[in-house]
């Protein structure tokens, strides 16, 4: 059993002990006449127990959450220190390598030229009147593209050379029997982020006697360092936890007296805990707003806000590398907004009639038996995970649409289209609309129905002329909530809408949405701080703002409506 588990057990024992100590000390303080105590003996017990256990457990929890990454960091920095010599000699080699120098020089020149070419292009693009020269612009643009490609090649050459040198340094180090830890550090330092993670994860597995994806002396070395750090940290935390628990026990025990207001203390602690819990909800919102804002601001420092909001072209892949900051204008989000709007519209065209009509049917026409069987069906639709809907779109709906259009003579319809995503999303939204409008319709007072029936209106007349108009604000609110839901839906569109950032009004083409692009940008290889990655946060911010505004309006409308008939 790990030491942490033992400590946790020990703290539980101490906690129980604390309860007992507090209680019995309180009783003995008044020599058994508990009526003279300010608080019941149990509260004295709770008081001691809380101060014994709570801080120590918080420490353990923090260790549980952050312990691993702390150990990783300690290990990595130690390995890096061990590899200092190797790194130095590698850097030396780099600096001395004529080929690298040549490439670097060429890179600098190319960069300069490409920058001036970009400036020329921009200048020409904004030119007016007689200065306008499409042919020259085209030539300049192709020159620029050419330069960018050359830059990419040169960069590749540089990296290749760097790798060769790195391998050489490594070979030499192995030959001269350099310490394994230095090799490990070197390997860790010079691998990409993903590999680094994997390296550390493997080392951790070896350190905990788990199954690593591979074995190497370097990994073993890293694992032994990791083991050392982990056990040191564990012991430290364990000791600290025991000390804190004991300290709490001793301090609070000494406070117990007949007049001690243990109950008030305990209750205010409980209240404080409850309050802190409710602050977490606020913290979450604050966290969302700040993380989105912070990263978005960094994005907007390289790509102007107007370009982002009004640009017509979205191709973030161009700006894959750091030296190609997205001035190329590939971060125009309009195609994403348009795609999102189109899919949402299709979804609403499906969901609003079906959802609304079934809510009306179930609440106004259906008998109780029918209602009891049909409602759960809608609830099941609501409970189906969206990834399942996505698969349904991919497996059934997409091919069906394609087959249908092929049948009526329209060939080359893609399986992943706005239509397929929109239809399936509509299905997902149906239960949402029907349950919300069911609530709304049921809160229309019976007296209005009676009034209408007493005038000799039929059911559909009553529904169409009295109930719907009366419920309209609530229904609009529900639809707004549903729209916000559709806008933020991710998996269905990721799986069914395709990825082409087409600016099109044709629902049979594949389109892309805000959420799809966030997923595309943040899965797979990513380097942090590149505009490509940061743009995901800008998109997230847009998404958050859109949905927030719609929710606030919708909730207001629905609430007003409720108040009207309450």
């Amino acid at each position: 059993m790990s030491i942490i588990a033992i400590v946790a057990l020990a703290i539980i024992v101490m906690l129980a002990g604390g309860f007992y100590v507090g209680r019995s000390r309180a009783i003995s303080a008044v020599s058994g006449a508990t009526a003279r105590l300010h608080s019941l003996p149990n509260y004295h017990g709770y008081y001691v127990a809380i101060w014994t256990g709570l801080p120590a457990f918080i420490l353990l929890a923090v260790f549980g959450i952050f312990g691993t990454s702390l150990v990783d960091r300690l290990t990595a920095s130690e390995l890096r220190r061990d590899a200092a010599e190797l790194t130095a000699s590698f850097e030396e080699a780099l600096a001395a390598d004529s080929e690298t120098l040549a490439v670097m020089e060429a890179l600098a020149v190319l960069r300069e030229r490409s920058e001036s070419a970009a400036a020329n292009v921009a200048e020409l693009r904004s030119a007016r009147g007689s200065d306008r020269d499409p042919a020259r612009l085209e030539a300049l643009q192709s020159e620029y593209t050419d330069l960018v490609n050359q830059l990419a090649t040169a960069e590749e050459v540089r990296l290749d050379r760097r790798n060769i040198l790195r391998d050489a340094v490594l070979d030499e180090a192995v030959e001269s029997a350099a310490p394994v830890r230095a090799l490990a550090g070197f390997e860790l330092m010079h691998s990409p982020r993903e590999r680094r993670q994997l390296f550390l994860a493997d080392a951790r597995r070896i350190a905990t006697d788990g199954l690593a994806s591979r074995a190497s002396p370097e990994l073993d070395a890293a694992a032994s360092i990791m083991r050392r750090h982990a056990s040191q940290l564990r012991n430290l935390v364990a000791g600290l936890a025991i000390v804190i628990a004991l300290g709490g026990l001793i301090r609070t025990r000494s406070q117990i007296a007949a007049a001690f207001r243990a109950r008030n203390h305990v209750e205010s602690l409980v209240t404080a805990m409850l309050f802190l819990s409710s602050v977490i909800a606020i913290m979450t919102t604050v966290g969302i707003v700040f993380s989105l804002l912070f990263e978005s601001l960094r994005f907007f420092s390289t790509v102007p806000l107007t370009d982002f909001l009004f640009g017509l072209q979205w191709s973030p892949q161009i700006a894959l590398r750091a030296d190609q900051v997205g001035q190329s204008g590939a971060f125009g989000a309009v195609p994403l907004f348009a795609g999102t709007a189109m899919i949402t519209l299709i979804a609403m065209i499906v969901a609003v009639p079906i959802g609304l009509l079934s809510a009306i049917y179930l609440s106004e026409y259906a008998g109780p038996r029918f209602r009891l069987t049909a409602k759960p069906v809608l609830e099941i639709l609501a409970g189906v995970p969206t990834v399942v809907y996505g698969f349904f779109a991919l497996l059934t709906v997409g091919p069906a649409i394609r087959g249908f259009f092929a049948m009526i003579g329209i060939e080359d319809v893609v399986t992943q289209s706005a239509l397929s995503a929109g239809l399936v999303m509509g299905v997902m939204i149906i239960p949402f609309i029907s349950s919300l409008s069911d609530d709304v319709i049921n809160s229309v007072p019976q007296s209005l129905r009676d009034g209408s029936y007493a005038m000799g209106a039929t059911k559909s007349e009553t529904i169409g002329r009295v109930i719907i108009p009366a419920a309209l604000p609530g229904i609009v609110g529900s639809i707004l909530l549903a729209v916000s839901r559709a806008v933020g839906e991710t998996m269905i569109v990721v799986m069914a809408a395709g990825q082409g950032a087409n600016l099109t009004a044709n629902p049979l083409e594949s389109v892309t949405t805000i959420t799809v692009q966030i997923v595309m940008l943040l899965t797979g290889d990513q380097e942090f701080d590149s505009p490509k990655t940061l743009s995901a946060f800008a998109l997230g911010l847009v998404l958050f703002v859109i949905t927030l505004v719609m929710n606030v309006i919708a909730l207001r409308v629905v609430q007003r409506y409720r108040e009207k008939y309450d």
Binding site: A454, M455, G456
Partner: protein, 263 residues
């Protein structure tokens, strides 16, 4: 209780005839064998303690019990000699000719004009806008509301005062020119002045309609009605001219009730 109604008023033509009407809600009987003849062009009041079945009987007259799940109506009910519980009688047609006013004013969330025009519109009674305007104006005039609202017909009906709302609802009911008007405690939510206004209105409407009103106020029954029926625990105990019932009740239960000994 005999099969024939008690003390049938002879001087007026009979509009509504009930024979052995029973009602049960989900098996629980709320009305037992009610037989009554209600004359035309007069006001008939239903009185009785709470839960005795007044509203239930009233709702039989325009088949509003149909809208309640589990309500079963038995016996025979005729208006102008025509059986209304018959399958061939359409509740829509029946309800168009039997208007109803509820305890709490329930104007639709529409404009005053649209509220009054509701009946004529759904039944297709007016073919042109001027025709409809005329119907609306007439109904509002009859309900004594025209002078107060003629300048704000497009305002929402829910924005009127309680008494005005109740008159609006009455206007809505008479806009289709029904034969019978049922009123279920139409004044219980109103202050005395508004109540007086409505009572006046009822008295005017008596000229043209058969009006049946449920009330908890003895004074009101005495003021507005020509005939009064006393219900007790689902039974019709006594029925006769209002004067007789109030001055000379035959049944001790009636006497106890109107003298305020129970109820």
């Amino acid at each position: 209780m005999t099969d024939t109604p008690l003390n049938t008023p002879a001087d007026l033509p009979i509009k509504v005839t009930a024979r052995k009407v029973t009602v049960s809600y989900s098996g629980k009987q709320a009305l037992h064998d009610v037989s009554i003849d209600i004359p035309d062009r007069s006001v008939t009041a239903f009185i009785g303690p709470s839960g005795c079945g007044k509203s239930t009987f009233l709702r039989c007259l325009n088949r509003m019990n149909d809208t309640i799940d589990g309500a079963v109506v038995g016996g025979s009910l005729t208006i102008d000699g025509q059986e209304i519980n018959d399958k061939t009688i359409d509740p829509v047609v029946l309800r168009a000719s039997v208007g109803m006013v509820f305890q709490k004013p329930n104007p639709f969330p529409k404009s005053i004009y649209d509220n009054v025009a509701y009946g004529p519109r759904i039944h297709g009674l007016a073919l042109t806008r001027p025709e409809l305007d005329e119907i609306v104006e007439n109904a509002l005039r009859k309900a004594g509301l025209w002078d107060e609202v003629s300048d704000r017909l497009t305002h929402p009906g829910t924005g009127l005062s309680g008494g005005q709302q109740q008159r609006l609802v009455i206007a809505r009911a008479i806009a289709v020119n029904p034969e019978v008007i049922l009123m279920d405690e139409p004044c219980s939510a109103l202050d005395p002045i508004a109540t007086a206004r409505i009572e006046e209105l009822i008295d005017e409407l008596r000229e043209n309609y058969c009006i049946i009103i449920v009330t908890h106020s003895m004074q009101q029954a005495a003021r507005v009605s020509q005939h009064t029926a006393f219900f007790h625990m689902g039974h019709l105990v006594e029925y006769g001219s209002t004067e007789d019932i109030f001055t000379n009740p035959r049944d001790t239960r009636t006497q106890d009730y109107i003298t305020g000994r129970f109820g």
